[in-house]
């Protein structure tokens, strides 16, 4: 902890200097979206100021420069998650678009009536609804593995639901509503034993831990840039090359073709086959800058620092009378979801906001999780590498004061 350069990191994030309602900002809504370091902001300004043109198009110098930066970022993503090749890195708008892409291409090509898609009861809506849409179109069936009261996957039940009918396992790596980190190694091994492809929704996991897709041996891994200190509107779909090669394209248009006549079209090679149209060039550059920033700090250091924050926050929260934690998995990332006796999460959210503290209040796009715990919503404090124990003290003081005020 002493070696973690927290002061330097905080100084890199200009928004942390903001005052909210005349109080210093305590930003604890990182699971919704993370703030951006100056390095990322500068990279976007630099791109538009000095290196912007369309990519893969022109022979002119600026286009070559923009293409270099754009493809350079793809290389950085590849290294960051240890993919085999940049052909396996597809830029999309975010994790949601990546899952929809897989459902509409891999799904439509491989999943038929009576087949099953297996998810868990802790999924974000983005890993539920695309499959429901696919099931409605194809007649396939969505199977849901249950969770326990700690918010952990009941693994034996999950295993029982794998069958010859299962054509895809799609699970969240780390839950945004509960913080639970799923036993993905076990899940992948069980699916592999039956040759079932596995998709990991890494939107929440990616900023909190080192991810190695080859070590995991997952078939797809998806995440959003905006939760990784990068701009919103950019995300990544990783897929094993052989699977991506076999999949039909997603959208048609420019850049995804090799040759077009009115009679037929020959599609481009990977990864361009899945990147129709002018991409989000500057934000890809921003994503590259965010990865540079994180690599310098080291994801293992981030994980260790955040684990200390979570332990500290959990211990303090447990001392608050009337506070119930929602999600107490043994394997957990830096998320503290809670409810207070007789105080609605929206009142908690407004009251903490008046103290400069930003938390999320709501169902966190995981309504089935709320139903399971029989709460309409929770308040959620979610931590990032720039948060401190002092900020957790401010949060806990705020919670205690609002309980007092409600009486």
């Amino acid at each position: 902890m002493t070696t973690f350069p927290i002061e330097k990191i905080r100084a890199d994030f200009p928004i942390l200097q903001e005052k909210i309602r005349n109080k210093p900002l305590v930003y604890l809504d990182n699971a919704a979206s993370c703030q951006k370091p100056q390095q990322v902001i500068d990279s976007i300004v630099h791109c538009y100021s000095h290196e912007y043109a369309n990519v893969h198009r022109g022979v002119h110098t600026l286009s070559v420069r923009a293409t270099d930066r754009y493809e350079g970022a793809r290389e950085k993503v590849k290294d960051f998650i240890n993919a085999q090749s940049t052909k396996e890195i597809i830029f999309v708008r975010g994790a949601t678009e990546a899952i929809n892409l897989i459902a509409q291409t891999f799904g439509k090509a491989n999943i038929k009536a009576g087949d099953e898609i297996l998810i868990t009861a802790m999924e974000h809506h983005s890993n539920i609804v695309p499959w429901q849409m696919l099931c409605a179109e194809t007649g396939a069936v969505l199977k849901v593995a249950p969770i326990n009261l700690q918010g952990e996957l009941i693994y034996p039940e999950f295993e029982k639901l794998i069958s010859d009918k299962t054509k895809l396992v799609s699970v969240v790596h780390m839950s945004n509503a509960l913080g639970t980190i799923n036993p993905v190694e076990k899940i992948i091994a069980a699916a592999k034993a039956r040759n079932i492809p596995v998709l990991l929704d890494g939107a929440q996991a990616i900023p909190h831990m080192a991810v190695d897709v080859q070590a995991l041996d997952c078939d797809f891994y998806v995440f959003s840039g905006h939760k990784l200190y990068a701009p919103s509107g950019i995300g990544v779909l990783y897929g094993k090359q052989a699977l991506l090669e076999a999949m039909p394209p997603y959208q048609g248009g420019g850049d995804m073709i090799r040759k077009v006549t009115f009679e037929e079209t020959e599609y481009n090679t990977l990864p361009y086959k899945f990147e129709a149209g002018t991409p989000n060039i500057a934000d890809v550059v921003g994503l590259g800058a965010a990865i540079d920033y994180l690599v310098e700090i080291g994801m293992d250091n981030v994980a260790a620092y955040e684990a200390e924050l979570l332990d500290y926050a959990t211990a303090k929260a447990k001392q608050v009378k009337g506070l119930r934690l929602i999600g107490e998995a043994k394997e957990k990332g830096a998320i503290l979801s809670f409810v207070l006796d007789k105080i609605h999460p929206h009142d908690i959210g407004t009251m903490l906001d008046s103290l400069g503290i930003a938390v999320r209040a709501g169902h966190h796009c995981a309504m089935p999780v709320m139903d399971f715990f029989e709460v309409p919503a929770t308040a959620r404090a979610s931590f990032a590498m720039y948060n401190t124990k002092e900020e957790i003290d401010v949060l806990i003081d705020g919670i205690e004061s609002l309980i007092e005020m409600f009486g």
Binding site: P345, H363, P376
Partner: protein, 150 residues
């Protein structure tokens, strides 16, 4: 600690949140409409007893934040004995007050509902205060579908 919030969370609101008035399922209600804001989870069912165009009784059930609970609790108190036209007029005044259309709160017209005026400084919470009234509006128009202000 919460000095800035006293305009929003007045003591009357805490009181109605702790002890909501007319909080029961009405047997033999003439009108019954659900109001539900799925994003925040505020949910209420409003019951009315009518005599012609007059509201003779009002009650509710449900759960929600302090603002939505206090708002519906106060509303069931003030609409009792009002005609449909009077209740609709009150709805309009309440709406104008909470959305900041009326600079000055007309205390005479709005009465004790004025405790909810503070909500206009909190745009994210206006929907909590107005859910009850949109539900009432639907009930008076005899609409059956679930109402939302999100």
């Amino acid at each position: 600690m919460f000095d800035d919030l006293r305009d929003l969370y007045q003591e009357v609101i805490f009181d109605h949140n702790r002890n909501p008035r007319n909080f029961y399922v009405m047997e033999g209600a003439d009108r019954k409409v659900e109001g539900f804001n799925p994003l925040c989870g505020d949910r209420l069912t409003l019951f009315l007893k009518m005599d012609g165009d007059k509201i003779t009784d009002a009650s509710f059930q449900g759960s929600g934040c302090a603002i939505s609970t206090a708002s519906v609790s106060l509303m069931t108190e003030v609409v009792k004995g009002k005609t449909e036209a009077e209740a609709e007029a009150l709805f309009k005044q309440f709406h104008d007050m909470t959305t900041g259309k009326e600079e000055e709160v007309n205390l005479e017209a709005i009465g004790k509902l004025a405790v909810l005026a503070g909500v206009r400084e909190y745009p994210a919470r206006v929907k909590c205060a107005t859910l009850a009234w949109h539900t009432l509006d639907a009930a008076l128009k005899n609409e059956q579908e679930s109402i939302s202000t999100e």
